[in-house]
């Protein structure tokens, strides 16, 4: 039990009367001192009795709005207190969050039941700043005497906890047609043997070989001179081209398209760092190029690229998103033009000029950031190089042309695509529709992968792609056809 300043002032008044009564030998003052003392003890008795009864009739609940969030993602905590009988005390029920919870206002963390009241509820917005398990201790209940003489704090109610996940994708699927790829990102076997570190092969000594390369242990074992070959270390320039336009913001907080693309980009940075490969980073959003880091292979260079990757935010949501473009390729236009050639209907005559001119198409592409980034920067890279394009399937014409642009000069293009259907909120509620959209995506990916010196992969949350593949499997089972042994569970279009 805590006593207040008013209690001590009342004690002082009683002591003052008692002291003066003793000094002046005045019984009247002594009676007054007795009155103050009796009043304080009676008030204390009332507080003790009422506080025990109040706590016995009190029910406290606290509940988090979600069981799992990512760091800095807002969630709400609801705190409620109910009395089975009214109390003459004032109650303040307060959340006791862990120190890693931020954004919790003083007003939002406490609910009050005034004397005579029965219940109170408060909802507080907060966020977890550190990944891990977040435990809300049972709330504290502070009971206050309306006279302002006493207060007491007890702990009542249940624990509440939730998981705070890191703001990174937790199940990154990289593959083709639903199948995960096994090769590490960025590995580039040279198929060349020579001096190096990693042992590759053993061959007989031939005239002209350097004597220092003779493997004496193998020579003794095989009774003939042998040379040990090693994997040749090569340096290959790699350029990362990251799209962080508005469409890359699709997905839940911490698991957006850009987060998955970032994971892939970071994997390439790690690989390039371990192999000392020169690495460049270019990023573009809907407004244009935002990051230009020329190739380099110093320690600080890799660190700088990592920092810039972590700093990337998915586009300005205020800007208009690029519209989905699935039929804007010149090849499509040419095919239609051939079909309408010689046609005499008004419809065919009207469309023919639009299909014959590709100028508008070229202008449109040149104004797009991803395409212009490739044109501006990647052509300056030393050959051979690897261009890694990390984007989504929103603007397929742009991706298609960007991939085509630089494979011509000895470069190899790796395109990592995040399928929009696997990131849109509620897209998986209709699995049949989602599967149809995924098939369109897969057809586009295959068209890209069919280009010379271009490899295309899908990047998606593993737990979201699984239901779509289940639809395909069940469709195959019902039709009685076996799944494709080479193309994953999706058959070729």
């Amino acid at each position: 039990m805590r006593v207040t300043l008013r209690y001590w002032s009342a004690v002082a008044l009683g002591g003052f009367l008692a002291a003066f009564a003793a000094v002046l030998s005045t019984p009247v003052l002594l009676v007054g001192a007795g009155g103050v003392g009796a009043w304080l003890v009676a008030a204390q008795y009332r507080f003790v009795r009422e506080s025990t009864r109040t706590v016995d009739s009190l029910t406290v609940e606290q509940r988090c709005s979600r069981g799992r969030v990512v760091t800095d993602e807002p969630f709400t905590v609801t705190l409620g207190a109910t009395l089975s009988r009214p109390s003459t005390l004032d109650l303040a029920v307060e959340l006791r969050p862990p120190v890693s919870v931020a954004g919790l206002s003083a007003a939002g963390r406490t609910c009050h039941i005034d004397a005579g009241g029965r219940e109170a509820t408060t909802t507080a917005d907060c966020r977890g700043t550190v990944a891990g398990r977040l435990d809300f201790s049972p709330p504290s209940v502070t009971l206050t005497d309306p006279l302002g003489l006493f207060a007491e704090t007890v702990v009542r109610g249940p624990n509440e906890s939730l998981e705070i996940g890191p703001r990174t994708p937790h199940d990154v699927h990289v593959g083709t047609g639903g199948e995960r790829i096994q090769t590490g990102y960025g590995e580039h076997p040279t198929a060349q043997h020579g001096t190096g570190i990693e042992s590759a092969d053993l061959r007989p000594y031939v005239h002209g070989d350097d004597l220092s390369r003779i493997d004496w242990k193998a020579t003794a074992r095989l009774d003939d001179l042998h040379i040990r070959e090693y994997e040749v270390n090569t340096a290959r320039q790699t350029a990362l081209l990251v799209d962080h336009g508005a469409s890359m913001a699709d997905g839940p907080d911490g698991e957006r398209k850009l987060d998955y693309a970032r994971e892939i980009a970071l994997a390439f940075v790690r690989r390039a760092h371990s192999d000392d490969d020169p690495l460049a980073l270019y990023a573009a959003d809907d407004g244009g190029v935002t990051v230009e880091i020329a190739p380099g292979a110093r320690e600080q260079h890799y660190l700088r690229i990592r920092r810039r990757l972590y700093d990337l935010e998915a586009g300005d949501r205020g800007r208009s998103r690029r519209e989905s473009d699935t039929a804007g390729l010149p090849s499509t236009a040419r095919r239609l033009a051939r079909r309408f050639e010689g046609g005499s209907t008004t419809f065919e005559r009207t469309l023919r000029p639009y299909l014959q001119s590709t100028t508008r198409y070229v202008r449109r592409l040149e104004s797009r950031p991803l395409f212009s980034s490739v044109r501006l920067h990647v052509r300056d890279l030393q050959r051979p190089f690897v261009l890694v394009v990390l984007t989504d399937d929103t603007d397929r014409a742009e991706v298609h042309e960007a991939a085509k642009l630089d494979r011509r000069d000895g470069g190899h293009v790796l395109v990592f695509l995040t399928p929009t259907v696997l990131f849109e909120e509620g897209a998986l509620s209709d699995l049949e529709s989602a599967y149809r959209r995924y098939r369109e995506f897969e057809a586009f990916r295959r068209r890209l992968a069919g280009l010379d010196r271009v490899s295309a992969f899908e990047v998606a949350p593993g737990d979201r792609i699984a239901p779509i593949l289940d639809v395909r499997r069940s469709a195959r089972r019902s039709s009685g056809s076996p799944s494709s042994p080479q193309g994953g569970v999706l058959s070729r279009e």
Partner: protein
């Protein structure tokens, strides 16, 4: 407050009226215990030997009336907030025991300082006992499965 004011005027005339005004101001602007203590001080000033001279000797009735009014102030404060008479009854019993005992002891010739010391000790023991009881009742004693 009216009863106390009349009592003060009967006991001290103009001086009593001034004292009653002081008590009324304390009651209005300060917590109730300040008004009670102010009333006790004014009463002592009016009735104690060597206090404020009065025009005519007065009997015990005004003194009892003033005391009853002042104690009623304290009792009312407990009654209002408690909503039940239990705390007020406890206050009445303790008041009778403390006030009456002090008066009787003083009247019987016991030294006033001794009676004052006994009162202070008795209330301190009672307050501490209630404090310990509350800790046990609410499960706040350390090591008690908390």
């Amino acid at each position: 407050m009216g009863v106390a004011g009349v009592g003060f005027v009967l006991l001290g005339g103009l001086g009593g009226a001034l004292g009653a005004a002081a008590v009324a101001l304390a009651w209005y602007f300060l917590p109730v215990e300040y008004a009670f203590v102010a009333g006790q001080v004014v009463l002592a000033a009016l009735v104690a030997p060597g206090g404020v001279p009065t025009a005519a000797p007065v009997g015990p009735v005004p003194i009892v009336g003033v005391e009853a009014a002042l104690w009623a102030l304290l009792a009312a404060s407990l009654w209002d907030v408690a909503g039940t008479p239990r705390a007020t009854v406890v206050f009445g019993v303790l008041s009778a025991a403390a006030g009456g005992g002090a008066w009787v002891a003083a009247a019987s010739g016991t030294a006033t300082w001794a009676v004052a010391g006994a009162l202070v000790c008795a209330f301190a023991v009672a307050a501490y006992g209630l404090h310990r009881y509350e800790l046990v009742a609410l499960g706040l004693v350390e090591g008690e499965g908390s």
